[in-house]
């Protein structure tokens, strides 16, 4: 019994450390500038200044940042789901020359850290005239070796009898991919979708380097620049931070089961 209470005390203390920065972010975002600089600090704002949020939208083009981030995230995610699942289907189900060689080559991409390809990609995208456009933000992120690998592993687990039965009924190869494999792998597709959405939404170094105009800023780059302008106005900065993180926090609460089982899956497979 004593042990159990001790466990909870430890867990609550840990959870407290995890959650306090979020509460502090929200609390500060609702304070007046004067109150944020008060010593001792107030835990709850004396007067709730919701206007801070409106001010964020007025002082920078936050709506534009939102739209840009949504376009980037949707573009990369939808493309990855289609392209990775198509390639994964070929590797899991079809026979073709050089299959293993190509698959190993794809896996080797997993070892290359993103910063290594940053500079050559900058040159490539400059050549293509894509710098500071959505092409630069989206196209290179449409392909994922990780996605191919994750989905292939899952597709291999779908019973082959399903394909055979469909072939008997006159189903084409594309039909098997579309009507058998995809509907039977929603957990894996959702997991890959969430991973991609999170990575795209939170991405920073790539959009920082590949875009330059204010019109092309995504949220992460936008609030970083925002911090440069309003370095001490913490209520405003925190309102910006809340606005840019809320969509992912909400998505996490709704899809946490899928996300967590997706992450756990990777570890177990070692």
């Amino acid at each position: 019994m004593k042990l159990k209470i001790g466990n909870h005390v430890l867990l609550i203390f840990g959870a407290f450390i995890m959650i306090v920065p979020f509460l502090w972010m929200v609390s500060t975002s609702l304070k007046t500038f004067g109150e944020s600089m008060q010593v001792p600090p107030t835990i709850f704002p004396k007067e709730w200044k919701f206007e801070n949020y409106a001010e964020v939208f007025e002082s920078v083009n936050f709506i534009k940042y939102y739209i840009n981030t949504i376009i980037l995230t949707l573009g990369r995610t939808i493309a990855q789901l289609f392209l990775c699942s198509m390639a994964a289907f070929a590797f899991a189900r079809l026979r073709f020359p050089f299959k293993n060689t190509i698959f190993i080559a794809i896996l080797s991409v997993l070892m290359v850290p993103p910063q290594v390809i940053l500079i050559p990609n900058y040159a490539i995208l400059t050549q293509l005239g894509w710098i500071d456009t959505f092409y630069a933000l989206i196209v290179p992120g449409m392909f994922s070796a990780f996605g191919v690998f994750l989905l292939r592993q899952f597709f291999m687990g779908i019973p082959k009898e399903l394909d055979e039965a469909a072939t008997m009924d006159g189903c084409s190869l594309f039909g098997i991919y579309w009507r058998i494999i995809l509907p039977n792998s929603t957990p894996a597709l959702i997991a890959l979708g969430i991973f991609t959405i999170l990575a795209a939404w939170n991405d920073f170094l790539w959009p920082l380097v590949m875009t330059s105009s204010e019109n092309m800023r995504v949220l992460s780059v936008g609030i970083a620049a925002f911090q440069g302008q309003y370095s001490t106005d913490y209520p405003l900065l925190m309102a910006g931070a809340v606005l840019s993180t809320i969509p992912m926090l909400i998505m996490f609460i709704f899809f946490q089961k899928h996300l967590i089982s997706g992450i756990a899956l990777q570890g177990v497979r070692r």
């Binding site: 430890l10 390639a87 026979r95 850290p113 939404w201 992912m248 992450i263």
Partner: protein, 309 residues
Amino acid sequence: MATEKRQEPVLPKLKKSKIKKEVLWAYLFIAPTVLGLLVFYMFPAMASFALSFTKWNGISTAEYVGLDNIITLLNDKSFIRSVINTVVFTIISVPLSVIFALVISLLLNQRVKGMVIYRTLYFLPVVTMPVAVGMVWKWLYNTEYGLINYILGLFGLPQPSWLFNPSISLIAVILVYVWMTIGNNVILLLAGLQGIDKMYYEAAQIDGASKIKQFFNITLPLITPTLFFVFITGMISSLQVFDLIYIMIGDSNALLEPLRTVVFGVYETGFKYSQMGMASAQAFLLFLAILAVTIIQFVFQKKWVHYDG
């Protein structure tokens, strides 16, 4: 091609056309991904290696300079400092994160009430935009008005200027990184713990083994594969840390020196000073370092990772 020839005598005509169709479909299915990965990943990785031996500002023609970049870097105090910082960052942050995560996941594995709520709370920082995390913690660390120094003051403890004091700023950022990564490790370790067969513990209880003995003789050995995975992926990502440093310290600051990481150097050299060749050399050295760490871990794993059970 060779496989097709071998199959020819065995297969009737109709089947042969079917195989051709299958091959055609397969190439169609993999074509976009293979092309994309070639153009935006494989070719750039090789180009990065080649660029390491050039002087190039990103616009004019690259000029071959041999090992000049590498030699310059090895004599560059700022670069050496960034390597040391990155190594220190990794050596401290990864074990800290894993140890905390292990304790938390062991506690959560006791079928505690509210397990899902705890798990959600611990995981929140993982899904939060690192740029926003950096901003919030910069505010928490604020010397005069920050929450952390206020709490320290309540207990009569010293109130350092966390991010402006070069001897503690690295530790301050490491703690934030640990806070950000614990949740991910908890999920992985918890999955590992839940995969352990209850049978082992029942047997141990019959033998009268204490909880501590059970931990060291059953739990720990059986989750070594998960621990190995957590260590490897954790080290790979902590060697690449950038966002937090950029946000918490800023990109034009004398205070950066104690915190400059290798990736920060790549960004600065390549995109602020337009020395793309030099930046590629840094990036490539980082790649080699990550590869070396991974290989060493894989070699070393035989000593401590158990794949049976």
